[in-house]
């Protein structure tokens, strides 16, 4: 049942030239030009993506906070084992859309969802959907790292434990594998019983990613996972996303267009609750078809 794969160490080839350069230098400040996308990295065209298996598929999704409509008829397919980036200015609905995918919006009172969201072809908003089961399959990493005020070990083990795993040996194995996957094992293996709150901000966020992996999800949702981190920690998280996409379907919300350009295969641009444009990242950033998209990615607004 353990479907975790041992991932190879990142090499310049797998990361692409852009990512490597970003690891050592400061993030370039936004200028009036579209972010550069590494040209020599293997990328799929929009047509090729359309032919892939669609892991998550949103069809005509409307979302309301009370009487305030936050999403207007959003249809978006997210192919399996690829990274989909959701970009757009603040308040454009990208985070709302992300939270629809694991029904975290259910926790907010007085919200309405219309339309279909299919996970492996099954509508997750059907009345018979087990939300608890859904959230085990669709993991989530939040903008602000939010480790539990418990030990590092207990943070990772919490997900499996609530799912009913009790044997210490199995838990040990999961904790080690998830921490390794999140590139945190070497830093914390000698202090698994220390409080998670003693870790640095970047380590805490990687711990949260490891924690999300511990329930063996198929899909990983990330809500601006690096927005509160320094450039070095951000680069580590981005490397991590690059590695994880071999085993997971990743949907990431980001304010940082360079980040979207670096890590994602597909990019969706949201504006005022509508999906304006979606396409292969390489295409969307080099040849946007909509004027709003072009203005946004070149930094003219947002």
């Amino acid at each position: 049942m353990v479907k975790l794969k041992k991932l190879s160490e990142p090499t310049p080839e797998t990361l692409g030239p852009l990512v490597m350069s970003e690891m050592t230098s400061e993030r370039p400040t936004t200028s009036l030009a579209a972010p550069v996308v590494g040209t020599d990295r293997s990328s799929l065209s929009a047509d090729e993506m359309r032919n892939l298996r669609q892991k998550v598929s949103a069809q005509g999704v409307d979302f309301f906070y009370g009487s305030n409509q936050a999403l207007h008829n959003v249809s978006l397919d997210m192919p399996e084992n690829l990274v989909t980036a959701l970009i757009g200015p603040s308040g454009c609905g990208k985070s709302t859309f992300l939270r629809c995918l694991n029904r975290m919006n259910d926790m907010i009172d007085d919200t309405i969802v219309r339309g279909d969201i299919l996970l492996d072809g099954v509508d997750i908003y059907k009345s018979r959907t087990d939300v608890v089961e859904l959230r085990k399959r669709v993991g989530m990493v939040f903008q602000k790292s939010n480790p539990f005020p418990k030990s590092i070990y207990d943070n990772i083990a919490y997900g499996p434990r609530v799912a009913g795993v009790k044997q210490r040996g199995v838990l040990d194995e999961i904790v080690e594998k998830c921490l390794e996957q999140a590139a945190l094992w070497d830093e914390v293996k000698d202090r698994l019983n220390d409080s998670a709150l003693q870790l640095s901000g970047g380590q805490q966020q990687r711990l949260c990613i490891a924690r999300a992996l511990a329930t063996f999800p198929d899909v990983l949702l990330m809500d601006e996972p690096a927005s509160a981190l320094d450039p070095k920690s951000t680069a580590r998280i981005e490397d991590l996303i690059f590695e994880l996409k071999n085993s997971y379907t990743i949907v990431i919300v980001t304010h940082n267009m360079q980040q979207a350009a670096r890590v994602s295969d597909q990019t969706a641009f949201f504006y005022e609750g509508s999906l304006i444009e979606v396409g292969a990242t390489t295409e969307l950033f080099t040849r946007p078809t909509q004027q709003q998209t072009e203005e946004y990615i070149t930094g003219r607004f947002g």
């Binding site: 694991n102 009172d109 085990k136 989530m140 939010n146 539990f148 005020p149 418990k150 997900g159 409080s195």
Partner: protein, 302 residues
């Protein structure tokens, strides 16, 4: 006046503060007034304690604690009332903690915002301000008469539970509310049920706050005399209560009340000694609250 523009701005600001000498005076005067308030409170407390200790300290010894009350002041002790107080507090804790914490969890975690919740919340806040004698009269009618519990420990404990329940509920709600929303989100996003989130995350995280609230509420119950007088608890018992449903009981505040009512000076001295013992028990309980808070919150720093 210099010839560059910034000094002009600085001068104008300086004139402003020079033009308001009153502001500085008012600030100092306020600090003095606040300090005076503190000194008055402290002085009152010190004088009170000093007088009591001076008067009663001579009577505090092992005999005093291990003797039953007597009609001769020199032989009188507090054995029955001290034991009665401890029994009563234990029983009150037994009833008020599960009821109070359960109510707080329901209101905070399960109950959706609604008119019913607002109604319950307002009433609990109001009940916290109801004079304890009123609960005593309710206890007399409900527990002593209607439920035929007579003047037993059980009737007393249930009455005191009514007195402190609002405080326990409000303190527990406050403690639960202090747990960041992000912890709940993280737990739900990992596929935890509401019950698992409450039991695995929220209760451990809010335990220090809940314990502090509970112990302070119990301290109040320990000092209550009025509601127990109202239900007709004995002010004089020369035996230990053997069971909680039938036997009469007395408590320290009632014993103190009884002794201060006597004409002989020696009884007043016994009352002062009993106050010293009561204060000691109270201080022990508060110290326990501080200790528990420290112990459990060491690992929890947001």
């Amino acid at each position: 006046m210099s010839n560059s523009s910034p000094p002009v701005y600085r001068n104008s600001l300086a004139e402003h503060s020079n033009g308001r000498p009153l502001a500085k005076f008012a600030s100092n005067a306020f600090a003095v007034a606040c300090a005076t308030c503190t000194i008055v409170c402290m002085a009152t407390l010190v004088v009170l304690l000093w007088k009591i200790f001076q008067f009663g300290w001579g009577r505090v010894n092992l005999d005093f604690i291990t003797s039953f009350p007597s009609s001769t002041a020199e032989n009188a002790g507090i054995k029955s009332s001290l034991v009665g107080s401890l029994y009563l507090i234990g029983l009150t804790a037994l009833f008020s903690v599960p009821l109070g914490v359960g109510t707080a969890i329901y209101l905070e975690e399960y109950c959706k915002p609604s008119r019913w919740r607002t109604f319950a919340q307002t009433n609990i806040a109001n009940l916290a301000g109801v004079p304890s004698i009123v609960y005593g009269i309710l206890g007399l009618g409900l527990f002593v008469r209607a439920m035929s519990l007579n003047r037993s420990l059980l009737a007393g404990a249930l009455t005191l539970t009514l007195v402190i329940l609002p405080i326990v509920i409000l303190a527990s709600q406050e403690a639960l509310r202090a747990v960041p929303k992000t912890i709940r989100q993280a737990s739900y996003a990992l596929g935890a049920t509401r019950w698992q989130t409450v039991w695995g995350q929220l209760l451990p995280a809010s335990l220090p706050g809940i314990l502090t609230g509970v112990i302070l509420a119990l301290s109040r119950a320990l000092g209550e005399a009025a509601p127990l007088l109202a239900i007709g608890a004995a002010t004089y018992t020369a035996f230990l209560p053997q069971d909680i449903v039938h036997d009469d009981f007395s408590v320290l505040p009632l014993q103190i009340y009884n002794w201060t009512d006597q004409p002989q000076e020696a009884f007043h001295q016994a009352a002062a000694a009993a106050i010293v013992v009561l204060l000691t028990v109270l201080i022990c309980m508060n110290a326990l609250a501080v200790f528990l808070r420290y112990r459990f919150s060491k690992r929890i720093q947001w």
